[in-house]
Subunit: 304 residues, 2 copies
Amino acid sequence: MTATLPPLNALRAFEAAARLESFSAAAGELFVTHGAVSKQIKQLEDWLGVPLFERSGGRVKLTEVGWRYLVQVQDGLDIIANATAQLKQPDRQRRIVINSIPTFAMFWLLPRLGAFQREHPDIELRLMTSDRDISRLDAPFDLAIRRGPGDWPGHVSKPFLEERELPLCAPSLLERLPIHSPQDLAQHTLLQADTRPTAWQRWLTLAGVPELKPAATQQFGHFYLALRAAMNGLGVVLGPLPMMQAELDAGTLVAPLQEPSVVVRGYCWIAPRAAMNDPTIHVLTRWLEQQAASTGIAPQSQPG
Amino acid sequence: MTATLPPLNALRAFEAAARLESFSAAAGELFVTHGAVSKQIKQLEDWLGVPLFERSGGRVKLTEVGWRYLVQVQDGLDIIANATAQLKQPDRQRRIVINSIPTFAMFWLLPRLGAFQREHPDIELRLMTSDRDISRLDAPFDLAIRRGPGDWPGHVSKPFLEERELPLCAPSLLERLPIHSPQDLAQHTLLQADTRPTAWQRWLTLAGVPELKPAATQQFGHFYLALRAAMNGLGVVLGPLPMMQAELDAGTLVAPLQEPSVVVRGYCWIAPRAAMNDPTIHVLTRWLEQQAASTGIAPQSQPG
DNA sequence: CAGGTTCTGTGAGTTAAACTCACACAATGA
DNA sequence: TCATTGTGTGAGTTTAACTCACAGAACCTG
């Protein structure tokens, strides 16, 4: 990371002073004089170019900007402190922690987890979800599921499930506004997620209607929220197949259009290189590949 | 935070050296000599008590411990760098960002979002999800939904929806192993989440069977994963009502037992004090309260 | 195999950040 | 009005961070 960092030692003083709303109390906590804290805060404010505290008669109170900065600085420093504490006290537990992107966890992995556990009752799985790049996770993991291929230094990865996208929506939506061609999407709300920002534009281009303006768009922080919104009749989502096949089979979602069907980046399992010595990881990754082969488009052989 | 922080300036050198796997390259990036970087790394390793790099013949490579530390240090430093950049370039947008805990977003809020948008087409909502304490979020928000009451300095909050918990499961589960009394739970897998770690123990205690040992327990990182697992027939979850009423009505979940029904901490909206000057926040919070009053247990008047 | 190149390790000395000390000023409370 | 508490800051001190110079090791090339 080459982004500009502020004077880091000053952050320690800032965090304490802001949390306690007192330079003197912060000085006590940090075992320095209040003058040191005062100078550090002044240095930080000068460097940032904005006041972080309001002063009134020997008392300080965070400004709104200072408050916003504090919560993020605390988050950053907490992560560093926690990482440091963990490093000093390794906590070795025997379980496989899977960190999956939320949509995959909910619509593909979770419905199959029971089968895995019946087949492997001796393996304890713990499922976490995150959209983040694996290099930026708060907690360690043994296996990650992310869309790929991708660049994951220090890890082994392998694609195991391809994906294609089609417009999907609740059947009730079509009763009010039928969709027979891509042009009909102009009457609808298109649902999208931060994690797939260009999906609709790409699909519309392939469909031959790049300039189409929908009635509205609805943005969600996570794709699974967009999918749930579609099930709730809020609009049309570009649904991933074969992941949503169960919902199509159940009739909670329908695919009004069959073309174009865009093949997009599929799913990879990702493990730290050191974890590849663990046979349990092999059991799990083989199981993932077998499940993918039996339900949808397993990728052609591709090196990790 | 009074947790021990390592020498912070050394982290800057460590991050660069670790990312580039070169002290000389790190020195170039940081505009210091390689000797400065070497000394900083040595200081950090001495302070932590563990080597972070393997040395071989003038080359360095991260140890496994060093690698794990790097990803977390990078995360922490990135948050600080991003907070710093945001502070310098305020990005003022006109939209309401809601940060809700995932379960509430999916099962209560999202099904109602369409109604809100039809009633208020001029307000753009952006829905984010997180379990984190609001003081530790990566991104700013205008309104948060968390379970409470709670202590949220600098914010205004108000409970608007109470909650009670009952064992819920898929109907297919009862076909194989009926549940007529709390003792019957011994034959089942109890599903739980990190965010509600003591829920089952409390419920079993109230049910008069504190020593009951279930066939298994299954832990999930998020409560909504536990709920989805229950719908997929993986076990019994302590389901929140009235949130899951729609699923009970639809038959995807059933409540085999009606007692004891535990009233637990419900839901609060939380807004930064400064945001209370914004009339849009009032529109949204009043709408939340009205929706809660019409669907479930609205709390007795309680100050924020 | 020898020499050159590149990279890290470290002692000695230098520089600058961090700190202490002491005093000044302001708000609050008794 | 005076005492108390807290912040601001200049001057001086201390220590972390740094440069400089040299040494050692691995790798590459001729």
